[in-house]
């Protein structure tokens, strides 16, 4: 019997639940099929220039959605990312226009983003305000602060050292895309290969069990929102570098796009499970759809309608997968896993 255990374990290489890899493949297939359909509708879709454009558009969302994957996996949500992005960029931009060294201004932006994220996290972890409400309050309040600070003005004119982050390219690859991919790799490592990532998945999966196991649940929860603040700042920095301007209304409604990318990517809205890989694919899928709608000449208002529908469908699929819809869950009975003494199926 012991040798069977060993054989069975040896056959399971890696640590991830393989089911999620297949779901990632499914999402990849969806992306490919949609790309073919969009190309058939309008050949202009399938040009190198357009693909570069899609990737660049997706890069901000990928970065921020990686942070959101941690938040949602911890059984939280953050509606304030767009407002936080607006506030840190108008303040940072203001510093630079005021003559501060760009490096110092950027450092202060990150400090502010992390600090506000920490405040949000403490409201959730210690004041026990539900994440939805805490970040809704932050969403409105931070947007207000951004408007107050910028007095409604638009800021533009960054030094070239910063605009390179958004507009430059290395070997034909736009810098934002490179940063997004490197950051996604870092995020995937943090998610699966560090104590922090494990603790985030644990508190989202079963907070009480995590607490009993000795996980510092409140600390981890605060750190999740600190991370979200830092990541939002990074996305914001690259966004303003790309368009070389900012204003208090920048990134309005961004939260829904980011959350949608995470949910489409297969992260459970109920916490505990998710993948960074899926999130990246989800963000790519959304950017591709937005791009296709633009190319197809669909009116912006209708784009919003499509976006809303995609979000609802993604959540519905998520609930189906989690068997949260009682009537359908009955039809979706899992086959029992082998519990007998003679478990002679180590290949699994």
């Amino acid at each position: 019997m012991p040798s069977q255990t060993a054989i069975a374990a040896a056959n399971n290489i890696g640590h991830a639940d393989r089911r999620w890899i297949f779901e990632g493949l499914g999402l990849t297939a969806v992306i490919v099929v949609l790309a073919v359909i969009f190309t058939l509708i309008n050949p202009r879709f399938a040009t190198v220039a357009n693909f570069t454009n899609i990737l660049t558009q997706a890069s901000f969302f990928i970065i921020i959605a990686v942070g959101m994957t941690f938040v949602i996996t911890s059984a939280g949500i953050d509606l304030s990312v767009g407002s936080l992005l607006a506030l840190v960029t108008v303040i940072g931009f203001g510093f630079i226009k005021g003559g501060m060294h760009p490096a110092l201004a950027v450092a202060l932006m990150f400090a502010l983003g992390g600090f506000i994220g920490g405040l949000t996290g403490m409201l959730i972890a210690f004041v026990k305000i539900p994440p939805f409400i805490a970040t809704l309050g932050m969403m409105v309040g931070l947007r207000g602060l951004a408007l107050v600070h910028s007095a409604g003005n638009m800021l533009f004119g960054l030094p070239p050292s910063l605009t390179w982050l958004g507009q430059g390219s290395i070997a034909g690859m736009p810098v934002p895309v490179i940063i997004a991919l490197l950051f996604a790799l870092f995020g995937a490592w943090l998610f699966t290969h560090t104590k922090f990532g494990l603790h985030v998945r644990a508190i989202g999966g079963n907070r009480e069990a995590a607490r009993l196991a000795g996980v510092p649940v409140n600390f981890v929860e605060v750190m999740v929102y600190v991370l979200m603040g830092l990541v939002t700042t990074l996305g914001g920095l690259i966004m303003i570098a790309r368009i070389d301007s900012t204003q208090a209304t920048i990134a309005t409604g961004m939260e829904i796009h980011v959350i949608a990318a995470v949910i489409i990517g297969g992260t459970s809205l109920f916490g505990g499970r998710g993948t960074i890989y899926g999130t990246v694919l989800g963000a790519l899928l959304l950017s591709m759809m937005t791009n296709a709608l633009v190319i197809a000449g669909v009116d912006f208002f209708w784009q919003l309608v499509v976006m809303g529908a995609i979000v609802l469908i993604a959540v519905a699929i998520n609930n189906l997968r989690e068997r949260r819809i009682p009537t359908l869950a009955l039809l979706w009975r899992r086959q029992p896993t082998g519990g007998g003494v003679n478990n002679s199926n180590p290949g699994g």
Partner: protein, 257 residues
């Protein structure tokens, strides 16, 4: 009361003296004292609300008692948090098992006690390989067969989940294991495997305190039976020298004879 007179030869692992815990006006645990010997299985029985769970929570550091003393191998210990209990060598298997469904077997076994390695000499990273190897070792040592270590534990059967939860406890140098209704909701076959595992733990000198409603299991498993009623310890009897009727009378009437 503690029945210690007949067990002079064995060593005491845990000693509980005058433990009290009240909720408002209710004395959920009322000056309870008893000893636990090395490598024994002590069953804790009593009606709902007799104070078993409260007593066990105090021993597991989940809910500190109001007063009283707990000693482990002669040293007094303060159990204010689950961590304190861990450090004292007391492991607790909670009724809900305390597993995280979405994590796989080694991640659950090592949660809160992760093994790490350093990449580039300074960046800490989880050592998934070593955690998996040590989990396999542990499972083999206690004769547990778990086919799929990398699956999320939500996909394991009730008995398999039970063994994962027990493995969590065995990972550390545990002296006393507390189990709250370990056989509840298990099939006959799976229940038998958990019984085997508990016997295996006893053979390795680990003491086990089991809460159970099922007197049949209790008589199969336990060396001694402690009966509680209304927060008080009615008495402790040796399984070999008592009958089910006697135990039922103790549970119902709160009297030793």
């Amino acid at each position: 009361m503690s029945g210690g007179g007949t067990q002079v030869a064995t060593t005491k692992v845990m000693r509980v003296v005058d433990l009290d815990k009240s909720y408002g006006g209710l004395r959920a645990v009322d000056s309870v004292s008893f000893d636990v010997y090395r490598g024994e299985i002590l069953a804790l029985v009593g009606d709902n609300g007799a104070g078993k769970s409260t007593l066990v929570k105090a021993l597991a550091g989940a809910q500190p008692p109001d007063s009283g003393r707990i000693e482990i191998e002669g040293r007094p210990v303060q159990l204010r948090t689950p961590r304190d209990a861990d450090a004292a060598g007391i492991g607790c298997l909670h009724q809900g098992l305390g597993l995280v469904d979405a994590l796989n077997v080694p991640e659950n076994v090592f949660l809160g006690r992760e093994l790490q390695t350093k990449i580039l000499g300074f960046i800490p990273q989880l050592d998934h390989r070593r955690m998996r190897e040590r989990t396999i070792e542990l499972l083999e040592r206690f004769g547990i067969n778990l086919p799929r270590l990398n699956d999320a534990v939500v996909r394991l059967s009730g008995g398999q989940r039970q063994t994962v939860a027990i493995s969590r406890l065995l990972l550390q140098d545990v002296r006393v294991v507390i189990m709250d209704e370990p056989m509840a909701a298990l099939g006959v076959e799976e229940g038998r495997r958990v019984l085997d595992l508990v016997a295996n733990m006893r053979a390795r000198g680990i003491s086990v305190i089991v809460i159970s409603h099922n007197l049949e299991h209790v008589f199969q498993l336990a060396d001694r039976i402690a009966v509680m009623k209304n927060g008080r310890l009615v008495g402790i009897v040796e399984t070999a020298s008592t009958t089910r009727d006697a135990v039922v009378r103790m549970i119902t009437f709160g009297q030793l004879h």
